[in-house]
């Protein structure tokens, strides 16, 4: 049965990993993720899981070991943040290219330079094209639920893909919040035993991973990878439905908040979505029809569904806690694409992009209010300024 607790995001995720009882955990500490693998190491030391723990000498090695263990035929986890993810970069592509369902919490943190340990999304957005499934989480509850579902999604026989579960560094990872655990048996039954696919350690059937594939077939293998990524959306919906039956908590590809009858809306990921919802309620009370869309599945990106959910609006601000220098914010580029393809019968919302909260800069209700009031003016015909602007920056 469920148990209501007050825990940090890291503690919640560490417990989801404990309940999944993976075969192998390869790890390397990095702030703000360290707390997850530290707690998980205690579970191993205390005999609460049967996991083989590997202390690697870097994140590159941690991901390499995870790949080896997963190819061997094990359920494998690791966790990282920021520079750690950046150091894993080449191995991330190998995990996805080999269809190895490694599960990895990513506690989002800014990238150097300048050095910063606080929460923003530049690490996860940088891994956009690595072929990993990405689930994003607003709070400890969502991070916990997404971690449990990640095993079912990644290990699904139609896809077999690695999954990154993202939550905001410090803001969620180190803040204590109310959430609800599922029982150990419930999680065990929900995730089920690990199903091996082409394990290297099946010595009766020798096989090879990582062959050289040149001009003759590489293009075809990438086409297959694209096909498999295309199946993820339905798997996520199916697993989320089953999870809702178990837990009572419903998840889709994204969350819509007061969006259906809205004129203006924010598109915003993770913890800042929670702050924004309060302000939306406040503006609704004043008669401003504001709403919000919070993406959950960022890779693969559900373009058609999100385009459909936003196309009726008059004005939308896409909030990015990361920048693509020389481009728009990474989320803005996706939303622009989604809306361009959406069938709006010639109608499309006015679209602006705000870069906010880099390096863990606080995102306050006043920030959400300011953007929503600007959108309200735009929806009434006020001229658009710059498409992309830094919010709350000292001038």
């Amino acid at each position: 049965m469920g148990k209501v607790v007050a825990v940090t995001g890291n503690e919640a995720v560490a417990n989801a990993l404990r309940q999944a009882d993976p075969d192998v955990c390869s790890l390397y500490p990095i702030t703000p993720q360290t707390d997850i693998v530290q707690r998980f190491s205690s579970f191993v030391a205390n005999g609460q899981v049967q996991t083989e723990l590997l202390n690697a000498e870097s994140e590159h090695s941690a991901m390499s070991a995870a790949i080896g263990a997963a190819a061997g035929g094990g359920r494998v986890i690791t966790a990282t943040s920021s520079q750690g993810l950046a150091l894993m970069w080449e191995m991330l592509h190998i995990a996805s290219g080999m269809n190895l369902p490694i599960i990895m919490p990513l506690v989002n943190r800014a990238l150097s330079a300048p050095l910063n340990i606080h929460g923003d999304h530049s690490d996860g957005m940088g891994a956009r094209d690595t072929g990993w499934v990405q689930l994003w989480s607003e709070n400890a509850q969502e991070a916990y639920d997404n971690t449990i579902m990640a095993f079912r999604i990644g290990e699904h026989l139609e896809i077999r893909l690695p999954v990154m579960v993202c939550m905001d560094g410090f803001i969620v990872s180190h803040s204590i919040a109310r959430m609800e655990y599922l029982g150990d048996d419930e999680v065990k039954n929900f995730i089920g035993p690990y199903q091996k696919v082409n394990p290297l350690l099946d010595l009766e059937h020798p096989k090879s991973f990582g062959p050289l594939i040149l001009t003759d077939l590489y293009h075809e293998y990438k086409r297959l990878q694209h096909e498999i990524m295309g199946r993820v959306k339905n798997v996520v919906l199916q697993v989320s439905d089953e999870f809702a039956k178990q837990s009572g908590r419903k998840y889709g590809l994204f969350e819509s908040y007061r969006l259906e009858d809205a004129d203006i809306a924010l598109v915003i990921l993770n913890s800042a979505a929670g702050t924004s919802k309060d302000v939306i309620d406040e503006l609704r009370d004043k008669g401003i029809k504001a709403g919000l869309l919070k993406p959950r599945l960022f890779r693969p990106f559900p373009y058609a569904e999100i385009g459909q959910a936003l196309r009726h609006l008059k004005a939308v601000c896409v909030m990015d806690r990361a920048d693509s220098f020389g481009g728009y914010g990474p989320m803005f580029m996706e939303i622009s694409s989604a809306l361009y393809q959406a069938d709006g019968e010639g109608r499309r919302p006015k679209l602006i992009n705000k870069i906010y909260g880099l390096g863990g800069r606080d995102y306050m209700p006043g920030d959400a209010r300011k953007v929503l009031l600007e959108l309200n003016e735009i929806s009434k015909g006020a001229p658009l300024g710059a498409v992309k602007e830094y919010m709350g920056v000292r001038e």
Binding site: G97, R160, K207, F209, G210, P211, I213, L224
Partner: protein, 95 residues
Amino acid sequence: MKKWTELVPGAVVLEAGSSARFKTGSWRTFRPRWVPENCIQCLMCWLYCPDMAVNVVDGKMTGFNYDYCKGCGVCAKECPGKQGKKAIVMEPEGK
């Protein structure tokens, strides 16, 4: 050639020993030539060859398998030869 729909996800090769069908000898620009009179049958060439391209029959070196020899020259480098004369010499292909 296979279509993308016929491929194994993850590019896993499910058949053991299939690299035997991939003849790497066409990469060679230098070929090793065996000089039997200088050979002491130490089998260092067989030990060092990265492509198992040294033919050994009944414990004796008998020459090279040019279907797989890439011409790397490791065998010639390691060959101790006899009285200062190498039993393996590298020669340009097509000479």
